[in-house]
């Protein structure tokens, strides 16, 4: 952990549905990660139900032990607003109407032609000593307040429990406010995103790095279905020194991992592929059997994808493979739908049918049914058609249908990205 000993935080998440395990507490994990990246040490994370007394107890303890308290949940319209009342009572605040919050909610609802209900109006009421920040993605505002603590000037933040609203407020309001709370020392981060190797192999490629992880420098490997994120954190006396040491380490890692790194921070595989397509001036089409539209979905998640994405064909039935994609019926019978020949033919077929320059195809067995000794669940062929050449890749995935789709889509996108990078 390490961190600055003076800058400590408690996370309080509120909601019966968390206590009884109906929802896994991803908010606490996300907030913990962001605070840690911001140089704040999280000392406790507490989940309680919608009880005024218990919330006040926890808030009191949190302000004894640390300087920062993040409360989330319990602000939604049908909740009892227990959190807001508990916090108001704790600070001896009256609740006052925030006209700017109400105006924003009314404008939002009006633009959609939805009536504003009393429960929505109640959300514009806040404890008087708190600053209310308008929610651009929902109705509950964020509420922030500076406060004295035994360890120095502190911050109490009440955030809505809806993850994307909470995240938006953390990034835009809470973390910047924490920056102003005290002397920090400087911190520099970078997260390099890799695809194509598992955690242990990335680790092997970075053999020797331990010697570079001197005082204040740390590295974390964060695996997901698409690859491994390598997060660099450097603490130093000045921002300039922190950035310089971070850049140095980052260059060392990039040198070892090469084309495996597709971006950094919040970048995505599909955005990285999109940039490669723009660089080459290529239009792309996809033909998906086993991924069922997921590759097209991911490619079109990128803003501006229409510059290079022509479209795709989801050929779930064999009639679509032979009809729209022109896969030879004999090839389907001889080699089976899940075969190298069909994957190649699908990629070439969709490239031609949609008038694209490059194409991706997938055909495979995602499970739970449909496997055989020869082609077990998890067998996937990926086709990659480029001007003047077509390639294929065999993937051997697991038994979970949804994870297989995710992994096959990521692998297919990554393989084309690497081909374009190398050509």
């Amino acid at each position: 952990m390490g961190g600055r000993p003076d800058m400590t935080a408690t996370i309080i998440t509120i909601g019966d549905e968390l206590l009884i395990g109906q929802i896994v507490n991803t908010n606490a994990a996300w907030i913990g990660e962001q605070l840690t990246l911001g140089g704040v040490e999280v000392i406790r994370s507490v989940t309680v139900g919608d009880s005024r007394k218990i919330i006040q107890d926890e808030l009191g303890r949190a302000l004894e032990k640390g300087r920062i308290v993040i409360l989330t949940g319990g602000l939604g319209p049908t909740h009892d607003d227990v959190t807001k009342h508990a916090v108001a009572e704790f600070f001896g605040d009256r609740l006052t109407l925030r006209q700017e919050v109400l105006d924003a909610v009314e404008a939002r609802f009006a633009s959609r032609g939805i009536p504003v209900l009393d429960v929505n109006r109640d959300q514009a009421i806040a404890p008087e000593s708190f600053q209310a920040i308008v929610n651009t993605a929902g109705t509950a505002p964020a509420l922030l307040r500076r406060t004295k603590t035994p360890k120095g000037e502190g911050l109490v933040a009440l955030l809505p429990g809806v993850p994307h609203e909470m995240q938006h407020f953390m990034e835009d309001a809470v973390l910047p406010e924490i920056e102003t709370l005290g002397e920090h020392g400087a911190i520099a981060h970078r997260t390099l995103l890799t695809a194509g190797l598992g955690e242990s192999l990335v680790h092997e490629r970075l053999h020797g790095i331990d010697e570079l992880l001197t005082d204040g420098v740390s590295l974390a490997y964060l695996p997901n279905l698409h690859g491994v994120r390598v997060r660099i954190t450097v603490r130093a006396a000045t921002p300039r020194e922190a950035s310089a040491r971070r850049d140095e380490l980052s260059d060392w890692i990039l040198d070892r991992l090469g084309v495996l790194v597709y971006g950094e921070g919040e970048d995505t595989l599909e955005a990285s592929l999109g940039r490669a397509l723009i660089r080459h001036g290529y239009a792309i089409a996809v033909a998906e059997s086993c991924t069922g539209g997921l590759i097209a979905h991911r490619l079109t998640n990128v803003p501006g994808a229409s510059a290079y994405m022509v479209g795709g064909i989801v050929s779930y039935g064999n009639s679509v493979k032979s009809g729209l994609l022109g896969v030879d019926a004999d090839v389907l019978v001889t080699h089976g739908a899940v075969s190298e020949q069909v994957a190649r033919s699908m990629a070439e077929g969709v490239r031609q049918a949609l008038g694209a320059d490059v194409a991706i195809s997938t055909t495979g067995i995602m499970g739970p049914g449909g496997g055989s000794a020869d082609k077990p669940v998890g067998t996937v062929w990926v086709g990659l058609a480029l001007p003047g050449r077509t390639e294929a890749r065999l993937l051997r995935l697991g038994t979970s249908r949804l994870r297989n789709k995710e992994r096959a889509a990521a692998r297919a996108i990554n393989e084309l990205r690497i081909l374009l990078k190398e050509s």
Copy 2:
């Protein structure tokens, strides 16, 4: 919450990796669910780091407020065994070697030809007042102890943090031990899944329900991008009474919400649509512009979807709309790609091109760019083609591209589901 006021629990999960958000705390959710199902009311769930002092603080508070304390994490071989030492000190216990635990570990390792390390031997040491239960799936034992609390006879359990080991001990040792602690009531749950209305409107439709929420009966609204889940919880003296009251309330709600309820528990919108398609004997095809493949992806997430899913066309470029889907080029020019006419024509076109019985289409502006005064970002037309009739729906969504895709896909799937239910 309600529940039996005498049987209350605190969950204490231990580990820096949880606090900094490197791992999401699924153990706390799982334990919370099991305790709740067992008729125990979880009042707090706390996560702390590997600190003896903080663990003792939390244990003390937990035993003041409730009768059951589950501690997990911090018992693994590479951890500092902080938990065990903290708990021993708390109860004034010496640490003693448990020969039966050591024997089991040695036998386990011998059968695999692995040497027993000192760290494994240390795991056989336990606070003297605790019962040690051999771990058949790992090395750390579970440690259990009865204790007096202000609310009556209580239980403290220390479990390993590895999920499947923890789960095994909960089911085999902790929950049965809790059963012996006192008289229990019974508990019954149901979660009804709705789509098509926001949280406040669902609430309005259930006007009058507050009178039914008598002692032991509670209701929670859990919104997400696809709709609102309505969770019923009933506590009563016997399982029969709990189920009967749950069914009664459930029927009342179903009566008010009707076709808005698409399933319960872990069901999905796409699986619900799939069942409706099978009932009608219909094959489905999709034509997606703005959702870019997401609807096809969701439909093919359902195991066995190949029984009714023919395929789809992602018509991102207008050339695909006119070419493969047969949308009249004049209509595209006159009304624009985002129009009721084009949505209808796309749905009819893909239905015909792929030989399906029903079809969904989407065309819209997902942002961030591409909006106009006339058709702002978030404008989406959905087309629904059925045998002998075609319908269209106008959606007005928000400004976030990814959320717009999710919401449009969910709405489109839900609209077809409702049409099939009604026909």
